[in-house]
């Protein structure tokens, strides 16, 4: 009853109706103004014009919400901040990706249409970096899934001191990438690093892990997998705990084999969570930056340079600002698709549980 009283009973405004609260019209006007200003005006002025346009839309939404249900008013501040700090910059860089522009030059942006995208998509370096990223993603996510699953089998049951031991295993996940990067750099150090010393005991030679592309790749994958396997474990444990105990009891009476129990009872309960873990970790591994930056800095050569590191180099070392924006947009598209998939499966599971 209370719900219906709060709902908007007024008819929605038509898009052409000229009223302060018609936010759809405001949005349309704002988009046109922003596009024109980005194309026609110099960067600095178009920035302020665009910001004003965004605030104008926000104001219109607030006016529309006034005296109505409190919903829009509650979410307005959050949306406003997100638009100013996230959406607006993204739209701006989308505009920028159609221009020739370098942040370290005074020359004003020059409209070049799709040429940045053309350059990016035909550049063999980009494809090479994407390939590197794909290798990192596949290796690290696979390792995390396997290690995480094994750890989950360990922590699935109740035992004394479980909480304390869980703390030890879960800590890596909450560390900063910088700390983890520094740890592993220390362990990979050729002369006194723990790993190098351990290998030397067996081979008698100085071991430099990062001397070969494969070794450097392994170094990154080990660090990242060590950090994030507990994440997979956490999800799998949640799935394992949700299996009703009576199913196992029934299976015990039927003297079902371990494999059969796993396949018919356990797996259906953890399947959706495994999928979610896989997707979540894929998204995160796809944007791997800090660990690579700190452990190998993309080396040796460019053999471990992931796409995120490449965008950083393109944008902040080579100062090809607009090309980096174009490449960013391609990455954004990938992330949106993956996030959409993730949420789809998360909602599906939510409906089942």
């Amino acid at each position: 009853m209370a719900e219906t009283a709060l709902n908007d009973t007024r008819a929605p405004l038509g898009i052409t109706e000229l009223r302060a609260g018609n936010w759809r019209l405001a949005l349309l006007v704002a988009v046109i103004v922003m596009t024109v200003s980005i194309i026609a005006l110099p960067g600095e002025i178009s920035f302020w014009v665009s910001l004003a346009a965004v605030l104008f839309v926000g104001l219109s939404i607030v006016i529309n919400a006034w005296g109505n249900s409190p919903g829009p008013l509650l979410v307005a501040p959050a949306l406003a901040l997100l638009v100013v700090m996230n959406i607006f910059p993204l739209m701006w860089s989308f505009g920028l990706s159609f221009f020739k522009f370098r942040v370290n030059r005074l020359a004003p942006p020059k409209f070049t249409g799709l040429s940045n995208y053309e350059k990016i998509l035909t550049d063999p370096t980009v494809w090479d970096r994407l390939q590197t990223t794909a290798i990192v993603v596949v290796l690290t996510v696979t390792t995390q899934m396997v290690v995480g699953f094994l750890l989950a089998l360990l922590f699935e049951r109740e035992f004394p001191l479980r909480r304390v031991l869980l703390m030890l295993v879960l800590t890596p996940m909450m560390l900063s990438f910088v700390a983890v990067g520094a740890f592993f750099r220390f362990y990979y150090e050729p002369t006194f690093g723990l790993l190098s010393q351990a290998v030397r005991v067996f081979t008698g030679e100085v071991f430099i892990l990062q001397a070969t592309p494969a070794g450097a790749m392994a170094g990154i994958v080990i660090a990242d997998a060590w950090m994030w396997s507990p994440f997979v474990m956490l999800l799998v444990v949640a799935g394992l705990v949700s299996v009703p105990k009576y199913l196992y009891e029934a299976a015990e009476i039927d003297r079902a084999s371990w494999w059969r129990k796993f396949r018919t009872i356990t797996f259906p309960y953890i399947r959706s969570l495994l999928l979610l873990a896989l997707l979540f970790r894929t998204i995160e591994a796809f944007k791997l930056f800090d660990i690579v930056f700190l452990i190998t800095d993309g080396g040796p050569g460019t053999s471990t340079e992931t796409i995120a590191v490449y965008v950083y180099r393109l944008g902040f070392q080579a100062f090809r600002t607009s090309q980096a924006s174009a490449l960013s947009y391609i990455l954004l598209f990938v992330v949106i698709v993956l996030t959409n998939l993730y949420l789809y499966f998360a909602r599906q599971r939510d409906a089942q549980v």
Binding site: L6, G71, L81, R162, F177, E252, V335
Partner: protein, 290 residues
Amino acid sequence: MAWRKRREIGKAGWGWTGFAGIISFIYFFPVLWIILTAFKSNADVLSVPPKFLFTPTLENFVSVFRRSYIPGQAAVDTGFDLFFFNSIYIAGTSVALALVIGTLAAYGFSRYPLRGNDTYMFIILTTRMLPPIIVIIPIFLMFRLAGLSGTYTGIIALYTAFNLPFTIWMMKSFFDELAPDIEDAGRLDGSSERRVFFKICLPQVRAGLAATAVFGLILTWNEFLFALLLTGIDTRTIPVAMAQTIGGDIGVRWGLLAAIETLFLIPVIVVVFALQKHLLRGVTFGTIKR
């Protein structure tokens, strides 16, 4: 069969603790070794083979804050007290702001769904999922134009926005779990909407608020890329300072770095222990509850 005493399914004894203990210890070893390294003298840090037994010293912790760059000369401030202050101040302020704005929004999304509510929630999550490197270029340009790079205002505003999606998703998941009966009862008793929010809903999600705040603090505390590009000398945070310690030309002082990391670690380990119940929800940004 029925009279034989069977162990309950899903329970294990001390034997399992021993087994799990060994594996957990191995898993935790990289962290442990850093903590040990922090207490070693410089010679012990670099010793081959590695030393497991050594005389602990606090030398490294002291030289985090004051050290002499040339042996024999007077110690100079390293600025790390300022970096620690920056990290705490920036993370604290931005998380507090995000918590206020985000909790209101989460309540709005949960109780008064807008048309296209799911789309809003999706866009909000996407802003959190996208690689920071994508947003950093336009934000960098924007901050330069607005004169915000290197200021506290700029980085706090950015981190507030960075924390918002997480806060909204977390808090919405907590609000969604509340039973609507109590609220409806409150409304029938004539409570205003404001009163329902402050006196009925908010007290029930107190634990959720705490969990969200702490996760936000850790995420912000750990953030590197934004801080690297958008903070100046006066506003530098610990992760950036740490990365610069590694990148030094005169050779890395690993004992020193380990000491910084150990100081950095303590709050994190405490939090992991205290918040185990909410960890799953926290690391998945509130998208998975159980």
